[in-house]
Structures are given as C-alpha cells and as structure tokens.
Symmetry: C2
Subunit: 355 residues, 2 copies
C-alpha cells in the first residue's frame, strides 16, 4: 500500500540554522514582500546549501488548496488519448500543477477504483474521459460533490459538469457529404457500439447527410462492431451480405476504418478504388496506411490543453484574468463545449467503381 522515506530537511531546520522563526522562513518561501531583504537572502542561501525541498502536501493540508489535477483516461496506448494527456499535462505544468494519472482500460469498475484512489490524493479537479458504460451517479459518488470535473469525449448525462466534446455529428456529416460529392449513393455506417454516445452522434450525422440527399438507408448499411481493428476486419463481409451493397463507408473511427480496409483486401476489393472509406480521429497511422485514410482531425493535444484550462478556471486560476472574472468562472453554469473537426481528404476515398 505504501512506500517509505527518510527524514529530510524541513522549514524548521532552516529556521533554526538561520536563527529566525518558522513563520519568517515560511514568508520567504512564499515570496512575501514583508521580509527584510537581508533576511531573505540569508534564508534562501540556506535553502540552496542544504537542498531544501518544499513539502506541498503539508502546505495544502493547512491551506486547503491543492495543486494537482487528476486525469483519468481509457487507454494511453491509444494515440488519440496519449496526445490528449500530453496536452493536459503541458497546460497543467505551465500553471504549476501536477498531473495525477489514472487509466481505466475502458472498464467502468476499474474507473471507479481509480477515481477513488485518485480522490484520496485530493486533486483540485478531475479531467475524465469516461469508460464505456460509466454512470453519472457512480462517478459522482467517487468524485464527490465539490471537485470540479471536465468530462471529455464521451457524455455523462445530467452530470452538471463541464463537458468537452468533438462535434461528432458534424464530422460524420462532413464525411458523408464528401462521399456523396464523390458520387456515391449507397453509403454504409460501419463500426462502433450504439452504446457509446460518440458512436450514436456520428451515426446521427451520417443519417442526416443521407436524408438531406434524399437517400433511404438500408438496414444492412449499419454494421456494429467493437471499436478495434480486428473486429472491424472480421465484420467487413456483413456489408456485402445482400443486394444493394454499399460502395463506400463512413467508419466510426480510424481503427475501425483501417480494419475495414484490411477486411476488404482480404475479400479481393481494393479500398480507395473499389470502395471508399473514411475514418475519424486522424491518428498518425492514418497518414501512412495503404491507401492513406480520409478522416476527421480534432487536434487532441489542443483539446487536452483546453480541458486543463477549463479545470484551472473552475479552480480560480487563469493567466491574467481579473479576479472578478475568476469568481465568475468558478460559479458559471456547466459549459458544454463542442469543438469543430476538420475533414482531411486522402486517397482512401474515390468515386464509385463503374460496374
């Protein structure tokens, strides 16, 4: 459960060896203008001499002010989340905060345990990309009523927390419109679980685009899969089970799209010339796959920074903001920030093959 540590230099030691009180040393630490310049120099010299290290835990015990933020993410090995995490950490570090990391592996149970463990370290706030199947009640139970939370990527219904999401519907709409413009009329929506809010939204956008074009969607054009490359490859056949098979597919995300392309090849079709495919996320692989994947980019690192800024604002920190604004930010009603995504056209989308 816990590690060990030896006795180290404390503020009292410094006070003793400088012949001043602990209170004075504390003032020096916090750069107070109250202390005499010479005293300050003497104390600071001593800091360096003995290698003093500040004990933030002790301080925040007294001040009731934390300087860490918890970041809970499904899976760091997904480059989308890794970039997001990098952005979060970047912005938090710049504000003097430390990131407490937790990963859930997409399990709501682990998420519960991870959140509880992180909360015991008293973070000032939480940035959460919920595992599939998370329930608002349970999350709130672990997080408590006080800590500000930013929910990223997946929605948590009625949580009363800030929400940061990609414009999933619009992204899928863009993808579908692009395929329509290429001349496709029979377009599938491929992959993902209807259980996930992002999947529902993307499918929604896809449907709107097709309806707006006056196309009726065949049931066989909607194929669910686990959001993995393997599953997607395995399900590729489902698209061609009946008449009126699609000539293109809007995929739930890049992993699924890459899998679908593999599955197509296994069936002797050539993605990018026989069949058009779009993804979602613009993971690095998308640019170098065969063929390179048309997809939607969301700049996850910038999203990470944005989430961090949001938490910092809730907590009362913002670069150069006047304090009234801060008070306003702290109390302002939960925001639902929806960020636009950008269509990146590559070689995986083409005109329909002439039969």
């Amino acid at each position: 459960m816990s590690g060990s540590r030896r006795r180290s230099v404390t503020l009292s030691d410094i006070a003793a060896s400088c012949g001043v009180s602990r209170a004075t040393v504390s003032l020096v630490l916090r750069q107070s203008p109250l202390v005499n310049a010479q005293t300050r120099d003497r104390v600071e010299a001593e800091f360096k001499r003995v290698g003093y290290v500040y004990n933030r835990a002790a301080a925040s015990l007294r001040t009731r002010r934390s300087s860490s933020v918890a970041l809970v993410v499904n899976d760091l090995s997904n480059p989308f989340f890794a970039e997001f995490a990098a952005g979060v950490d970047e912005a938090l570090a710049a504000a003097g905060f430390v990131t407490l990391l937790g990963s859930t592996g997409e399990s709501a149970e682990r998420q519960q345990a991870v959140l509880q463990s992180l909360m015991e370290h008293d973070p000032a706030g939480v940035i959460l990309s919920p595992a599939e199947g998370s329930e608002t009640v349970r999350v709130r139970q672990a997080v408590g009523a006080h800590a500000p939370v930013v929910v990223f990527n997946r929605e948590l219904r009625d949580s009363g927390w800030d929400q940061l999401s990609l414009d999933n519907a619009d992204g899928a709409r863009q993808a579908a419109q692009h395929l329509l413009q290429c001349g496709h009329r029979r377009i599938a929506f491929f992959g993902g679980h209807a259980g996930s809010s992002s999947c529902r939204q993307r499918r929604e956008g896809y449907m709107q685009a097709l309806q707006a074009a006056g196309i009726e969607i065949e049931p066989q054009w909607l194929v669910e899969t686990a959001p993995t490359r393997l599953e997607a490859a395995a399900q590729a056949g489902a698209l061609f089970a009946r008449e009126r098979a699609p000539t293109a597919a809007v995929c739930y995300n890049d992993a699924v799209a890459l899998g679908l392309m593999l599955g197509l090849q296994a069936r002797g079709r050539v993605p990018g010339s026989d069949f058009a495919v779009t993804g979602f996320d613009d993971i690095p692989e998308a640019a170098v796959s065969v063929p390179p994947l048309t997809t939607l980019a969301a700049d996850p690192r910038a999203r990470g920074r944005q989430a961090a800024q949001r938490i910092l604002a809730r907590v009362g920190i913002r670069d150069g903001a006047a304090s009234e604004d801060i008070a306003l930010d702290r109390a302002s009603p939960p925001a639902h920030i929806i960020v636009p995504v950008r269509l990146i056209v590559r070689a995986s989308t083409c005109a329909p093959a002439r039969p």
Copy 2:
C-alpha cells in the same frame, strides 16, 4: 500556483457522530484487528453514509510514507513512451500507488523544472526516461539523495541508480545479421545522434555484426540525423553520394526508418525490393507502413510494468515477498537490467537487387 477546496468530512467528524475517539476511527480505517467488530461496523456505516474520503496527504505527513511515484517521460505522443507509461501506471495502480506524470519534451531544462515540481509532491520514487543531454549531477540535485530512481531507456552515467535498458547493441546486431543473411554486403547505419547512448549502442552492435562478417565499413555508410521522420527523409540522399553505395540500412529507430523509406521513394527507389530497411521499437505504424517494416520489438508496456516493480521493490513493496527479501531488495546494489529485443521480419527487408 494552486487551486481551492471546500471543507469536507474528516475522521474527527466521523468520530464525533459515532461517539468514539479519533484514534478508534483511525484503527478502523487501517483495518486493525484491535477494534471490536460492532464498533467497526458502526464506523464503517458512517463512512458510507456521509461519503467520507480518506486524506492520504495528511496520513503520509505523519507516517512519512508516500503512496505515489513520479513518472517523467520525454514525450507521451511517442507511442513507445505512451505504452511504457501505460505499463507503469498499470503496475503502480495494482499496488495502490498513484502516478505523478511529467513530460519534458526532450528538454533537459524542462526536465529539471518538472522533476523539482514533482519532488515537492513527495513521491516514493521516480521513474525517469532522461531527456537528451541530461546530466547525472543535475538530475540528482533535483531528485535528492534519498528517493529511489529507475532510469529507463537512456543511460545516466555513474548515477548509482537502477537502470532499465533495451539490449540496443544486440538488437542492431540481429538486424545487421538478418540483412547479411539476406545477402547484403554493403549495409549502412542510418539516423540518430551519436550524442544519445542508445544510438551509440545500436551503432556498436551493427559494427560488430559487420566486422564479424569480415566487412569493412565505409564512412559514408554512417549517417547521422535527428531522430524524426522528416529529417531522415531529407538525409536519404547522403547514402548514395559516392561509390559503393549501400544496398540496405539498419536504422536507428522506426521513425527514422519510415522517413528513410519515404526519402527512398522520392528518389525512385522501392524500399523492400530495391533497398532493404530495418527499424527499431516496433511502433504500431511499423506493421502497416508500405512496405511493412522489419524491426525490433521491446514490448514497452511490459517494460513499464518492470520499471514500476523495480521502484516498488526499492520502496519495500513486493507481491508476496517475505520481509527479509524486502530488506535485501531495498539495499541491494543498483541493478542494470538489460532486456532482450526480438527481431520481427516484415516486407521491408529483401535480398539485394541484381544490378
């Protein structure tokens, strides 16, 4: 510099509403067998009723026992490190520890600041993948003399800390031998900075393999680049500047190898049939590039777990170890663990083209 927080339920509150002393509640918290079963139940019920959350910072202030570990990594957006981080977090979480994340962006200066900030949160230990150009002295200055450290991936000379590295020399040797077996005689070592220890080791292994085969290495076969795809693509021409141009290259890592393949294509050569290329790391992209890349796999997630285990052992935690062993582990001399890497042959390596 810091966030805010409201007053929350403390152990004293629980004690008061249960009509017992704080000491008793504390015993319940720590599952002590001393407390009467009925008392325990009463207190635990109260925990649940009011949503009590344990304050680990307060506890470890008293016990001098931390339950976090700092993880400092160059760049999370590199999938190799992201996987490593995931492995670290996985193993730490299983032991009840929390990961304090920091990233350096390959800057020794930022690393210094990040380390200092993390140390103020009093981690039980540090897992560090040093930024290029890190100096042992400076790192030790930030980390102090007491906290156990595991250095990953790059070496820190004379640090007296545990070191976990890939068998770079052997990996490059395997790659070179594989190319020799394919029939190549003129083999380059491409990419990376001689400043980095991993690059030096890989080049060393490459040289051994060629020397063992009785081949004399031409100077033009050694090309340095920044370890990025772009730089590598730009430098591809250097290989063909003179007579006796190589027919194959052992690359510093996958990024460089992918870049080199792009550079080759730009020059009208076809990697995997005109020219053979190997990488290092087996990043996910390696499997799906064109052609798929022959490379060396090191299972970074398992490395992460391993690094975490090492820190935990130093700190006195190990699953099911008897306490004498623990004492032994804590004090044992710094280990230099070198983990084997595995050659994965894909289509980027081929026999030399007949001229």
